[in-house]
């Protein structure tokens, strides 16, 4: 029987560098397609929602392509992975610039780091819950690359990973059923990050 490779869609809604994400997806042997709207989303096996930038701007661009309804339908059967802002948009609301409604796929909200702390840009360790199967069980080697000023607050049962930065502990991996989110950039987190994308899209 021929092996059918999974086809993963990345939604390109105008932010940042999605080519790095594509490269990390392909590292796992998946086919990867960049899409600019969700018309043909049913053709794909999973969807990645990337994003850097502000919460209101992100929602504005998603609303423009009427993303919410299509994503809600899609995740009934298939997986969605939100990365960085793409993760934050999965929550119910964000407090960046102005209070804005998110996609509401996972209960909770997005809030600012305390003002006196510089933005979190760089490598930090993530304590990954055993619920996520990840090849890195070695606690000395679970570094991921972050760049953000806002953090998500959700219920304990949706929290699959946490990180400490500037003496604050916050949620950095979330999951509810088929919906996953990571605050860090797995595509910029060396091979660990690329492998994590593979684990999430494959094994659960």
């Amino acid at each position: 029987m021929p092996i059918i490779k999974k086809n993963i869609a990345i939604l390109d809604y105008g932010f940042g560098n999605i080519f790095k994400i594509k490269q990390a997806v392909e590292y796992n042997g998946f086919i990867c397609t960049l899409i600019t709207d969700l018309k043909d989303i049913d053709e794909y096996d999973a969807l990645i929602l990337p994003g850097v930038g502000s919460f209101p701007e992100g929602m504005k661009r998603l609303n423009k392509i009427k993303a919410k309804e299509k994503i809600l339908e899609f995740v009934k059967k298939k997986k969605l992975l939100g990365i960085c802002l793409g993760m934050q948009l999965l929550l119910e609301k964000g407090e960046e610039i102005k209070l804005t409604k998110g996609l509401g796929l996972i209960p909770g909200k997005v809030v600012r780091f305390p003002k006196n702390i510089r933005a979190h840009v760089g490598w930090s360790k993530v304590s990954i819950d055993k619920k996520i199967k990840h090849p890195i069980q070695n606690k000395n080697n679970n570094f991921f690359y972050f760049t953000h000023q806002f953090i998500v607050k959700t219920k304990k049962k949706f929290e699959y990973g946490t990180t400490n930065f500037s003496s604050i502990k916050f949620t950095t991996i979330i999951r509810k059923n088929n919906v996953y989110g990571v605050q860090f950039h797995p595509e910029n987190s060396d091979k660990n990050g690329a492998k994590l994308i593979g684990q999430i899209l494959n094994d659960h």
Partner: protein
């Protein structure tokens, strides 16, 4: 303490990696993509590319180099030199850059920082300041890769950059660049406490102690290194400092209780 970043800086002229002293007398050391892949394998945290001539001649040949140099590299790549339009930024991001660095354009048209940060996200837009010590002991901002002074108070400019939404700031000392004498400590003293966004220092790091002391004694987030790494890779003895590889630098920092990713 949070984890500190060690960044390799790759200055590009045409198709080559170049390095000079005080941003002048550029010597060709090899191909940018050979260096980027080597540093990636040696556990560098990030790579920064600067096109040393783009801004001067108003052209931008970086796209191909960035594409080649970032292929199969899973760490952040930043690119600067000759970035003048939103379209330049889009093209660099499409070629594989994660962040884009502004200098000349930001000084000439400061609102461009706001514009770019709004469009691509604040974390995507970095501003670099090339500064030089003047004969009257003051510091001046330079444009066109250190060739021309720009009439703007550098300390006010540092504040303005942050207000306009830059994601990170790079402070490059022209007077120390390539000298292996260590970073300009007097300059650091003057800017201390004024920076609320991630801070990258560049220029002059010539040995392990320079890097260690800077990280230990200041609030710097990242150190950007060129000659120190390049001359280690090409085994060239003409560099005045004590070259070493990214992985060895980081191992020694960790031994001295500085937090780094390995």
């Amino acid at each position: 303490m949070n984890y500190k970043r060690i960044i390799a800086r790759i200055d590009v002229k045409g198709e080559n990696l170049v390095k000079g002293i005080n941003l002048e007398g550029l010597k060709t050391l090899g191909k940018p993509w050979d260096f980027s892949h080597y540093y990636y394998n040696k556990k560098i945290d990030e790579i920064v590319f600067f096109d040393t001539v783009a801004s001067l001649y108003g052209r931008n040949n970086l796209f191909d180099i960035v594409e080649k140099a970032s292929k199969n590299i899973f760490i952040p790549i930043s690119v600067g030199g000759g970035v003048r339009t939103l379209d330049d930024i889009r093209k660099l991001l499409n070629a594989g850059a994660d962040k884009v660095i502004l200098n000349t354009k930001a000084l000439q048209d400061p609102k461009f920082i706001n514009l770019a940060a709004n469009k691509f996200g604040s974390s995507t837009i970095l501003v670099n300041i090339d500064f030089n010590l003047q004969s009257d002991k003051s510091y001046a901002c330079f444009v066109e890769n250190g060739r021309q002074v720009f009439d703007k108070d550098i300390f006010k400019w540092i504040k303005e950059i942050q207000k306009r939404g830059a994601g990170e700031i790079i402070l490059t000392s022209i007077n120390k660049d390539g000298t292996a004498e260590g970073y300009d400590q007097n300059f650091y003293k003057k800017i201390k406490g004024t920076i609320k966004i991630p801070l990258i220092l560049s220029g002059g790091f010539g040995n392990f102690e320079h890097v260690y002391e800077m990280i230990k004694n200041t609030d710097v987030d990242a150190i950007s290194i060129a000659s120190l790494f390049h001359y280690n890779k090409i085994k060239d003895k003409s560099f005045k400092g004590r070259p070493l590889s990214p992985i060895n630098l980081k191992k020694r920092l960790i031994k001295k209780k500085i937090k780094c990713r390995l």
